[in-house]
Structures are given as structure tokens and as C-alpha cells.
């Protein structure tokens, strides 16, 4: 099957990005160096073409009710112009996807989902929209998405007149317009840093990409995006989350609001006994990778690395791992097996890196 191209494909080729297939798209994996891209986002400003992600719109009288019903987190009580991160569960509590819904207004909501799950999400939400008085549309092909991330992003947005007027805190969203181009801008991202995501037409995306380059923004690929999200311990579907586990298996209890009247999966999750603890581990030398085994101090196999890699900020190996709950060691000693060697780990209670988001 031929890979799809985003509206910024030619910009990536011009910048000599290393391209790789991802969720049916030919996407930039890295431009210069993954390390430099990570540092750019943590210290200055980087940008990502994430146009492969899915954009669904819900409009109409029951829009809020529909969205609140399919997500485990609380959307009804979120303020106006707020964005909410949430898993989307089945009746049995397993995770269809994780996503962000954006309350543009009470009758217009943007749902942004993982590219790799878009079809599954579309089928699931279409199946559940029937009893609500609202319209669900897939506009993924009409939208490009650029994430501008890093401590200097606000200043750059201000300079080129993209920052909406007034208060614009973390996890808020606004519809805006510049030179007759409409766009949706939100204070969200996948790096833990201050920054925005801009949902816009393909034409505007090409214009903004060039303007950001001129402002010295560093283009960043999917490889650095993965490192950045792992450093701040954001889950990734297919790793920490999948069709077999519930949000309660992956440290997402904070997104499951049992005091809501109802949501899909509520009954199952109310009685669910989690199978896993998600732990954060680092090692001084050696790189943990997804799939590697976790052992206790007696060398019993007790879990598996869900995401692993190298943190350029900490200069060491970092990992998220599922530990089987009934094998969780009281002494909190975890070892990672890399090939035929066991490596001692440091057990972290907080994310490896604290992002600078406000």
C-alpha cells in the first residue's frame, strides 16, 4: 500500500529528514540529530508535523453528553475552552485509545486521536453516537497539525501574531484567525514543555512551517517526540496502553472519574482489580528497550519494559515497565535484563524530567 503524505512532506524532504512509515504515513523520523532535537524542545523551541493524527468533530445539542459518555475523564464539568486528556474504554474497561477532546464550545468539540488507531476509534465512536442528538464527522484529511513546543514558543507565537488574545493557560483551546486563515490553537503537546498544537488547513500549515523555520524553530521528528514523552512519562498507545489493559493498569487512575453518573466502562472499572503497576526505572549504563524483562532481587521474572530508551537530558537509560501486581517486590528492587546481563535500576516515583509547561 502506498504511504500517505502530509501537507508538509516536501518540506521534510527539503530539510533532508530521515523518513519512515508510521500509521500509513511517510513521516519524518529525525532531521539533524535526535539529541539536538530533544535539547531544542527542552531549552528553546522545536516543531513537529503531526498531521497524521486523526481529527473528528462532534457538533450539535448533545455534543458534550456524547463526548463525556465515551471518555473516562470528566468533560462536562471542564470549563469553557478546555482540553481534556482521557482514555476511551470499552464496556469491559479495556482501552480503545487515549486522546484529547477540545471544548471549542458546548456544541462543537474536536476529538484528536492516535493515527494508528483512527479507524478503530472511528468505528467505536460511530457505534456509540447513535443515541445522542449530534453529528460525528471525520475531518482528518482536511486538517494539518503542527505542534510547537518549548520554553520559547509563546514569544515566537506572539511575534508572528498567532497567540490568541487574553488568558491562554495549559490545556485550553481557542478558535482563531490570522489573515483570513482560520485555525484551532490549543495549549497542549506531548513533550511536557510549554507550547501549542495548531490544527489548520494544509495551506496555512505550509505557511506556518516556513515562518517557524525563519524564527529559528528546530524541526523535530517522531524519534525525538518519543524520547520527550518518555522523559516526562506520558503513555503511548501500543506500549503502556493496548486492547488488553485498562487505564488502571497504567497509572491512569487520575483520568478515571468514578463519581461521574455514567461512562462507557464504568461498571467494569468499578470492580476491576488491576493486573499491573506501571513503574519508572532508570539505569546508569545500558539502554532498556520495550519487551525487555524485569526481574526482582531473586531473579524472578516479574514484568516487562513497555517503553524504554535513552534520555539525553539525564544521560542514562530510562524505562516504563508493567510489573505484575502480585509479584510487586516489597524491597522495590528491580533489575532489567538486557541481552544476557542484569542491570541494577533506580526506582523513580516522579517523572524522569519535569517539563516547563505553565
Amino acid at each position: 500500500m502506498e504511504l500517505k503524505k502530509t501537507s508538509l512532506y516536501h518540506e521534510h524532504i527539503q530539510l533532508k529528514a530521515k523518513m519512515a512509515p508510521f500509521a500509513g504515513f511517510d513521516m519524518p523520523l529525525q532531521y539533524s540529530s535526535v539529541k539536538e532535537e530533544v535539547f531544542a524542545v527542552r531549552r528553546n523551541c522545536g516543531m513537529f508535523d503531526v498531521s497524521h493524527m486523526g481529527e473528528f468533530f462532534v457538533t450539535g445539542k448533545d455534543a458534550l453528553k456524547f463526548v463525556d459518555n465515551f471518555m473516562t475523564n470528566d468533560f462536562i464539568n471542564a470549563g469553557p475552552n478546555k482540553a481534556v486528556y482521557s482514555p476511551i474504554c470499552r464496556e469491559n474497561g479495556t482501552v480503545v485509545d487515549d486522546h484529547i477532546s477540545y471544548k471549542i464550545n458546548d456544541q462543537k468539540i474536536l476529538i484528536c486521536v492516535n493515527a494508528s488507531n483512527m479507524e478503530k476509534d472511528w468505528n467505536w465512536l460511530s457505534k456509540n453516537v447513535g443515541k445522542f442528538d449530534c453529528k460525528l464527522e471525520n475531518k482528518s484529511d482536511d486538517y494539518s497539525l503542527i505542534a510547537l513546543q518549548g520554553p520559547k514558543s509563546d514569544a515566537i507565537l506572539k511575534k508572528i501574531h498567532l497567540l490568541p488574545a487574553g488568558d491562554f493557560p495549559y490545556y485550553s483551546v481557542k478558535e482563531s484567525e490570522r489573515n483570513n486563515y482560520k485555525y484551532i490553537i490549543s495549549k497542549t503537546g506531548y513533550t511536557g514543555e510549554d507550547g501549542v498544537e495548531i490544527f489548520c488547513s494544509h495551506d496555512l500549515a505550509k505557511i506556518l512551517w516556513k515562518e517557524f523555520l525563519q524564527e529559528g524553530v528546530v524541526p523535530c521528528g517522531l524519534a525525538s517526540r518519543d524520547v520527550l514523552r518518555l522523559e516526562v512519562c506520558f503513555p503511548l498507545y501500543g506500549h503502556e496502553l493496548n486492547d488488553e489493559v485498562t487505564p488502571l493498569d497504567s497509572a491512569l487512575k487520575w483520568t478515571v472519574k468514578m463519581d461521574k453518573t455514567n461512562f462507557i466502562g464504568k461498571n467494569a472499572l468499578a470492580n476491576y482489580n488491576p493486573r499491573y503497576n506501571l513503574v519508572k526505572l532508570s539505569i546508569e549504563k545500558g539502554i532498556p528497550r520495550a519487551g525487555y524483562s524485569i526481574l526482582d532481587s531473586n531473579n524472578n521474572n516479574i514484568g516487562v519494559v513497555t517503553s524504554g530508551g535513552y534520555s539525553p537530558i539525564l544521560e542514562k537509560g530510562i524505562a516504563l515497565a508493567h510489573i505484575e501486581k502480585d509479584k510487586f517486590p516489597k524491597n522495590k528492587i528491580f533489575k532489567i535484563q538486557i541481552r544476557d546481563k542484569m542491570y541494577d535500576t533506580e526506582y523513580h516515583l516522579k517523572p524522569f524530567v519535569v517539563g516547563g509547561h505553565k
Binding site: S33, K35, A223, K285, R289, Y310
Partner: protein, 129 residues
């Protein structure tokens, strides 16, 4: 992008360079290899004194995104490994030909003679890039 190839060295299909002095073979990875791997962050060496067989995996080089085997260009006993590279793997990115990895006392010189010349390696790289 053109990658550096040193005329005085021999090369393997797996993008390693090799230098023979007496019966001691020194090898590392090429500029082409470091460039395709990207940021190198970890190197695992064979044990000193262990016996390597030509073409078999004898260590690991990890970049941020990938885990890659290191192959021995010839059979023999490991004499020395470059601990400086172990402490600063990024040196391979900065200077691949200056960052030797392993020294091996080889048992069969013809295995070295069979390796590619700089010219042959250049053609090998052009074919795949």
C-alpha cells in the same frame, strides 16, 4: 551526503573498517555506519580473552533509536577494547575512524585479505544509499 572512506583500510559488508598491524587487527565502524545509526549512546564489547569468529556478532552498538550488532571482521582472540568509547560513545559520531573498538589477534590472515578495499567499499555504499 558523501561519507569519509580511508584509503589505507579494509572494509566489511557490515560497514566496519579494519587495520592489520602484524597479526593484530583493529576494527571500528565506518563514517557511513555512524551516520546511518545517528546518535550513538551505548557500546557493549566482547570480553578480553574471548575468541571471535569472522562474521559472528561480538558486541552491540546502540543509537537512540536502534540496537545493532557488531560483527568481527576476522577470527581471533580479543586483546583490547576501547574503554574511552565505552565512556563517551558519541565519539564514534564525531570521528568514526578515530574511534577504534576492538583489537584482535587474528589466526588466519587470509580472512583479512578477503575484506573489501576502500574502492570496493565505496561502490558498496553507493549501491545502498
Amino acid at each position: 551526503m558523501a561519507h569519509e572512506i580511508k584509503p589505507n583500510l579494509k572494509y566489511t559488508d557490515d560497514h566496519e573498517w579494519a587495520l592489520l598491524e602484524g597479526d593484530v587487527l583493529t576494527f571500528g565502524i565506518t563514517d557511513f555506519a555512524q551516520s546511518s545509526l545517528g546518535d550513538i549512546v551505548f557500546v557493549e564489547f566482547p570480553e578480553i580473552g574471548s575468541m571471535l569468529e569472522k562474521g559472528n556478532p561480538c558486541g552491540v552498538i546502540e543509537s537512540i533509536k536502534s540496537v545493532n550488532d557488531l560483527f568481527s571482521p576476522a577470527s581471533g582472540e580479543v586483546l583490547e577494547v576501547n574503554e574511552n568509547v565505552s565512556d563517551s560513545p558519541e565519539n564514534i559520531n564525531h570521528n568514526a575512524f578515530g574511534s577504534w573498538l576492538v583489537k584482535v589477534k587474528i589466526t588466519n590472515k587470509s580472512e583479512f585479505d578477503q575484506l573489501m578495499s576502500a574502492n570496493e567499499y565505496k561502490i558498496h555504499c553507493e549501491k545502498i544509499s
